[in-house]
C-alpha cells in the first residue's frame, strides 16, 4: 500500500521535473523543506500534548521529582556561576556607560530589569539546554537504539508516561525556579561590580531596583521561562525518542547528531520565541 503510494508520488514528481519552460526544482526543494518543517511541528505538538496528558497519571510524582533533581537541582551551581559573572559584567559595562550621562544611580534598575526581563530566562534556558537538554536527548536516544523503548512497550509501560512526561513536567517546574536563582545571583553580581568594586552607594543601587522593578517584570520573566521550558524539553525529548527515524545516520552516530540537533534547535527556538513572547507581552 505504502509502496504503491510512494511509486505514484515519485512518478508524479518525475512528471513535474520534466524539462520544460519553467525550472521547478528550487521551488520543489523549498516546498519539501517547508512541508517537512510543518510535518515535524505537527508531530512535535502532538508529542507534547501526549506527554502532558500523561502527567496526571498515577505513579508519576516520584519520577517528576527525580527529574526535577536532575534537570533543576543539579543545574543550580552552573546557573549560579554564570549568573554571577553575567551580573558582574553587566554592572561593569553599564556603570561606565551610565557615568557618561551622570545616570549611574540607575545602575540597579538597569541590571535588574535586563536580568529579570531578558537575560535571566534566556541564559538560564540556554545553560539548561547545554547541561541537561543534551543529556536528555542522548539518554532517550540510546534507550531507543538499544531497544529499551521497545522493551517498555512489551512490558506494557507507556514510554510517554515513563520517559517523556516526567522530563517535560520537571522542566516546566525547574526553569522558572532556576530563572529566579539566575536573576537573584545576577543582581548580586551587579552589586559586587557596581557597589563593592566601583564604589556606587549601596542604598542607591537597591533603591533603584526597588523603585523600578514591579511584579509584571517578574511574571513576564517567568512566563518566558515556562515557554522556554516547554520548547527545550519537547525538542530534546523528541529528538531522542525519534532518533531511529533519522535518515542521515543510524545507531550511535544518529544519537550524536540528534543531540547536536536538539541543542542547536533549542537555542534557536529560545531566541525566536523570546522575540515573539516579548512582543506579545508588550501589547
Amino acid at each position: 500500500m505504502a509502496l504503491t503510494e510512494n511509486n505514484q508520488k515519485s512518478s508524479a514528481c518525475e512528471e513535474k521535473r520534466r524539462p520544460g519552460i519553467f525550472p521547478a526544482e528550487p521551488f520543489t526543494f523549498i516546498g519539501e523543506v517547508v512541508i517537512g518543517w510543518i510535518d515535524g511541528l505537527g508531530t512535535a505538538t502532538v508529542f507534547l500534548f501526549m506527554a502532558l496528558l500523561k502527567t496526571f497519571r498515577p505513579k508519576q510524582l516520584s519520577k517528576i521529582i527525580q527529574q526535577i533533581y536532575y534537570i533543576g537541582a543539579r543545574s543550580t551551581t552552573i546557573i549560579m556561576l554564570v549568573s554571577l559573572f553575567t551580573g558582574m559584567v553587566l554592572g561593569l559595562q553599564s556603570y561606565h556607560a551610565l557615568i557618561k550621562f551622570g545616570a549611574v544611580g540607575g545602575l540597579g534598575a538597569l541590571v535588574s530589569l535586563s536580568l529579570i526581563r531578558e537575560l535571566g530566562p534566556v541564559l538560564t534556558a540556554i545553560m539548561i539546554t547545554a547541561r541537561a537538554g543534551s543529556a536528555i536527548t542522548a539518554e532517550i536516544g540510546i534507550q531507543r537504539i538499544s531497544e529499551q523503548v521497545d522493551a517498555l512497550h512489551t512490558m506494557r509501560i507507556d514510554p510517554f508516561r515513563y520517559l517523556i512526561s516526567p522530563r517535560i513536567t520537571a522542566a516546566i517546574i525547574s526553569f522558572p525556579l532556576l530563572t529566579a536563582v539566575f536573576d537573584f545571583i545576577g543582581i548580586i553580581g551587579g552589586y559586587v561590580s557596581g557597589v563593592a568594586l566601583l564604589g556606587l552607594n549601596a542604598g542607591v543601587y537597591s533603591h533603584s531596583i526597588q523603585s523600578n522593578v514591579d511584579m509584571k517584570d517578574l511574571t513576564d520573566g517567568f512566563i518566558k521561562a515556562t515557554v522556554f521550558a516547554v520548547i527545550v524539553a519537547t525538542v530534546c525529548c523528541y529528538q531522542g525518542y525519534y532518533v531511529h527515524t533519522r535518515k542521515d545516520s543510524h545507531g550511535a552516530k544518529a544519537v550524536g547528531l540528534a543531540t547536536t540537533s536538539a541543542v542547536v534547535t533549542s537555542c534557536v527556538l529560545i531566541l525566536v520565541s523570546d522575540y515573539v513572547v516579548t512582543s506579545l507581552l508588550l501589547i
Partner: protein, 414 residues
C-alpha cells in the same frame, strides 16, 4: 489438534521495497516450546515482533485463539498483550537501573502491588535465576550470561502465559548456551507457559522444543516435531540445517545426531553380513536434581565432561558417540561383538570409577555454589546388533540392560 493459541494467516511484511515475510502461515499451540529456526537475517525476529505487536503486518491476519487481532477491541488486545513477555536478543536491560530494579520495573509500573510483595516476588526470581550476588549491580557490571539471566528473570516476573525468546543464547559459550536453554525448558515445565523461541542453536534446541518452525526464503516451509524435521526433504535441510549444525556438537564434542547416523550408515555398510557391532547407552540420572541444587551451569558442565570422557575412551578404539537426549549418550563400537564390547566396557567402568566420576564432579563444582552437592548415578548398558537391521531397536535393547556404573554420593552434611 486444538485451536492454535497463535495463528498467522498469509502474513506479509515489507520494509520499504524489501520484502521480509511473504505469505507466512504458522500455528503455535498452548503449553509447548516452539522454536523458529532459520539463517541470520531471514526475518525470525521480525516474525516474533508481530506476535507482541511491535510490528504490524502489511497483509494477512494474526489470530489468537482463533480470533483475528483486527477484530478485537482495544481492551481485549491490551489484556492479551498483558499475558505476553518478550526477551530481547540484546537483553534491552535498563543500564541506569540495578539488576533488582530492572526485574522489579514491570511490577512497579503496571501493578498496584505493595512494596513488600514486589520485593518478595523479585527476590524469588533473583534466587531462581542465581543472581543474588548481582542484585545490586548494574547490567554493565555483569557478564553476558548473567545479563541474559536478568532479562529472563524480568520476562518471567509477571508470570506470563506466553514468553517470546529472541535468540536467548547469542554470544554465549557452549556450556552457557545449553544452561540457558535448559533454564528455559525448566521454567517452561515449572510455570507451564507457552514458549516461542528464535534460535540458531541446532541441534541443542531440539532437546527442549516440542515443535520446530523453519523459516526459509521469507516463508515458513516446515512445521513439526524435531524428529519430523529429520525426514523433511527440502533445500532448507541442506542449506540451513547443515550449515548451522556442525560436524560435532559444541557442548560435548560428540557427533551431532545427523552425522552420527551418517557415520553409522557408512561404517555398517562396509561390514559383511554375519558380522556384528555393539551399542552402548549411558544415562546420567538425577539431572533435574543437579539443576535445582547446583544450577544450570554446573549441570551442563557435568554433561560436557561426561561427553568428553566417553569420546576420549571409546573414540580411541574406533567408536563414535552422540548425545541422544538431554541426559543420554549413545556409542557405537562398529568392530566389536558383545564379548569384546563387554571387555571394553569393563575397562571403561574401572577407569570411570577410579578417575572419571571425580573429574566430572570437579568440573561441575567449579560452576556450583560453594558447598553444594547432590547425589547422582551413571548407568550403562550394551547390546549387539546386525548391520542389516535398524539401529534404534539395538539402542532400546542396550537401554533396557542398563546398570549402574558409577555413583557420586555426597558426604553427610554436604
Amino acid at each position: 489438534m486444538n485451536t492454535p493459541l497463535i495463528e498467522f494467516k498469509n502474513i506479509t511484511k515489507r520494509f520499504g521495497s524489501q520484502m521480509v515475510l511473504q505469505n507466512v502461515n504458522l500455528q503455535i499451540y498452548e503449553g509447548q516450546v516452539t522454536t523458529i529456526i532459520g539463517l541470520s537475517g531471514s526475518g525470525k525476529s521480525v516474525l516474533l515482533k508481530h506476535i507482541i505487536g511491535l510490528l504490524k503486518p502489511d497483509e494477512g491476519t494474526i489470530l489468537f485463539h482463533g480470533k483475528p487481532l483486527t477484530e478485537m477491541k482495544k481492551s481485549e488486545i491490551a489484556a492479551l498483550l498483558s499475558r505476553i513477555s518478550y526477551m530481547f536478543q540484546g537483553n534491552a536491560l535498563f543500564d541506569s537501573l540495578t539488576v533488582y530494579d530492572n526485574i522489579a520495573l514491570p511490577l512497579r509500573e503496571t501493578t498496584n502491588l505493595k512494596k513488600a510483595e514486589i520485593h518478595r516476588r523479585v527476590m524469588a526470581r533473583i534466587e531462581q535465576t542465581e543472581l543474588i550476588e548481582a542484585s545490586h549491580k548494574y547490567p554493565s557490571e555483569l557478564s553476558g550470561g548473567m545479563q541474559k539471566r536478568v532479562a529472563l528473570a524480568r520476562a518471567l516476573i509477571t508470570d506470563p502465559q506466553i514468553v517470546l525468546f529472541d535468540e536467548p543464547t547469542t554470544g554465549q559459550d557452549p556450556v552457557r548456551k545449553n544452561a540457558i536453554l535448559s533454564m528455559i525448558a525448566q521454567y517452561q515445565r515449572k510455570f507451564n507457559f507457552t514458549a516461542i523461541m528464535v534460535s540458531h542453536e541446532i541441534p541443542d534446541v531440539y532437546f527442549i522444543s516440542n515443535r520446530i518452525l523453519a523459516l526459509y526464503d521469507k516463508t515458513i516451509v516446515f512445521q513439526g516435531t524435531p524428529e519430523e524435521l529429520g525426514n523433511f526433504d527440502h533445500p532448507f535441510n541442506d542449506e540451513v540445517i547443515h550449515s548451522l549444525e556442525g560436524l560435532q556438537k559444541e557442548l560435548t564434542g560428540l557427533y551431532s545426531k545427523r552425522n552420527f547416523k551418517i557415520l553409522n550408515h557408512v561404517q555398517l555398510k562396509r561390514r559383511e553380513s554375519g558380522e556384528s557391532y555393539c551399542v552402548a547407552v549411558f544415562t546420567l540420572t538425577n539431572l533435574d536434581a543437579i539443576i535445582s541444587s547446583m544450577g544450570h551451569d554446573a549441570a551442563q558442565e557435568v554433561i560436557h565432561s561426561m561427553g568428553v570422557y566417553i569420546d576420549k575412551h571409546f573414540g580411541a578404539i574406533g567408536g563414535f558417540s552422540t548425545r541422544r537426549k538431554n541426559n543420554e549418550f549413545v556409542t557405537v563400537l562398529p568392530f566389536s561383538d558383545i564379548g569384546e564390547a563387554e571387555n571394553i566396557m569393563n575397562d571403561f567402568v574401572k577407569d570411570f570409577q577410579e578417575q572419571g566420576i571425580s573429574d566430572i564432579w570437579a568440573e561441575a563444582q567449579k560452576q556450583a555454589p560453594l558447598g553444594k552437592c547432590v547425589d547422582f548415578t551413571i548407568q550403562a548398558g550394551i547390546a549387539q546388533g546386525k548391520p542389516t537391521a535398524e539401529i534404534d531397536p539395538v539402542i532400546d535393547s542396550a537401554k533396557s540392560q542398563q546398570k549402574e556404573i558409577g555413583r557420586l554420593q555426597c558426604a553427610v552434611g554436604e
